[in-house]
Symmetry: C2
Subunit: 326 residues, 2 copies
Amino acid sequence: MKVTLAMGNGGEENLELIERIQKFFHNDYLQKAEDATPLDGIEKPVMTTDSFTISPLFFNGGDIGKLSIAGSCNDLAMMGGRPLFLTFGLIVEEGFELKMLDKILNSMAKELKINGAKVVAGDTKVVPKGSVDGVFINISAIGERQASLSQRNIEEGDVLLVSRDIATHGAAIFAAREGIELDNQIQSDCASLWPVIEELMENVDIKAARDATRGGVAAVLNEWARARGLTMEIDEESIPVSEPVKGICEILGFEPLVLANEGTFVAAVSSKEASRALEILKKHNPNAAIIGKVGTQYPKKAILKSPWGTKRFLDMPSGEILPRIC
Amino acid sequence: MKVTLAMGNGGEENLELIERIQKFFHNDYLQKAEDATPLDGIEKPVMTTDSFTISPLFFNGGDIGKLSIAGSCNDLAMMGGRPLFLTFGLIVEEGFELKMLDKILNSMAKELKINGAKVVAGDTKVVPKGSVDGVFINISAIGERQASLSQRNIEEGDVLLVSRDIATHGAAIFAAREGIELDNQIQSDCASLWPVIEELMENVDIKAARDATRGGVAAVLNEWARARGLTMEIDEESIPVSEPVKGICEILGFEPLVLANEGTFVAAVSSKEASRALEILKKHNPNAAIIGKVGTQYPKKAILKSPWGTKRFLDMPSGEILPRIC
């Protein structure tokens, strides 16, 4: 059965589609929803929004549904926010298979549970064939801040870590699109980060965290360097990259540092907390690593240090990196 | 100058596009935004989300930018919520004119002021030509509830009002698409309703309000009837419809009651408050009218009474009413 235009037009068939969707997200808040949904009070809210236009919709390691919930909740988690309430905006192309839509909605529901968050409002638009490519999803999310993680806290001497080996999401999507066959298929890192961030916050005085999505780790390091007028000094050899990802990067001529991740973050902690932070990160992924520290030599720059003592600037990525990666 | 794929990919050009967009929405919250934006505490939040896929993007009486902010804030207002914080998700087609984008953003900024609301987070995705038709916008909004307007408050004997003449948005979009030339061009009712709702709430014990968007007034009345197990009894002759809209409806064979509005609402008040409510509504639009009352004769139904005493059911709209109306 396919999605029809009539299902998106505010009438009887629209109510049926809404009911079909709502059963994936059942909760007490949705019961009270009319034009908008009354929620419980929030003392320290933190809010984010993200649209997802990824192609293909289903990929090794996830799909647009999982990606949309994980990605939005991750943005809250990076600010120390426990994910609470989410809204979704689905834009569906006429003729899209309802069975595929169910699969996407099911992935969303599963990922919500991992975050302990609830969908409290949704909107579904069906547009004529050709007006959109398949399904686009917008998620807005609001959470309660448990600690004030922020790039503003980053200081000289802080240690930088990554939570796992990098660039798998970008490499997986690339390989899928280009039809590259590998012995070890690369799986996207697509995952919710709230559980590991929560454990980190409870045990370590973590200063800042950022998930390395579009633009990859290079974008995070450059943004932090610019925001603080400091230098992000990275030991190139310490950056964890798996062999299959290295292979893809060589074929395509890309640096892993600019490829997108969807469940990998960079963290800044004071030097005395670094080994404890690494220990916790390694419990969640053995490839977590300390990758460098915060210096002052080249203000607003990120630099890569080679094992032979040479240095080069790691620039902010530019150009057409990869459209529809998320 | 046109939007390029490079502007949507997390790198240098992406930052430039973000800066271009942010200057329309400048505020203190955005200054503190990183992956997510810290907000002030909200005691009685109410939240909504809506995607806008309207075609054409610019129409008589508004554009997708004005529509998106007004439409989302209206959903909060209908629940008694003062609009506070909004997020937007822009999905832009590669090659879209930046000048047109500026025009849309400017309309958004103007409408935000009317609502006293602020954009606190945004996301912009650029997708390859053909993956989306022009620009789609998602808005999520959170407000603070000033009174508990809800369909749950509706009781037998309550009086039903509309805030102005109906069906102008649907008729205007129809006329524009079909290329129908009229002596009096129809202007969409697209407008923010918070100011009139606020005045109503301050002066009248208003029970429920709902803006009659997709599915029109017919959808609102049927939803209320079903939610309360009551009858919405409408005097057909009392429904305000302008002559040009009547003309369009005759040409196209539509009932004004099923056509979309974007700045028109139905309100339910106790009978003793009805004349006071009408007085306030008329200050904002002289075509506001009392259109009927709440009865019990046909549970879960809306009925239309003719001036000759005959009755017919006003059904929930169904079928392909009009895609991309909002």
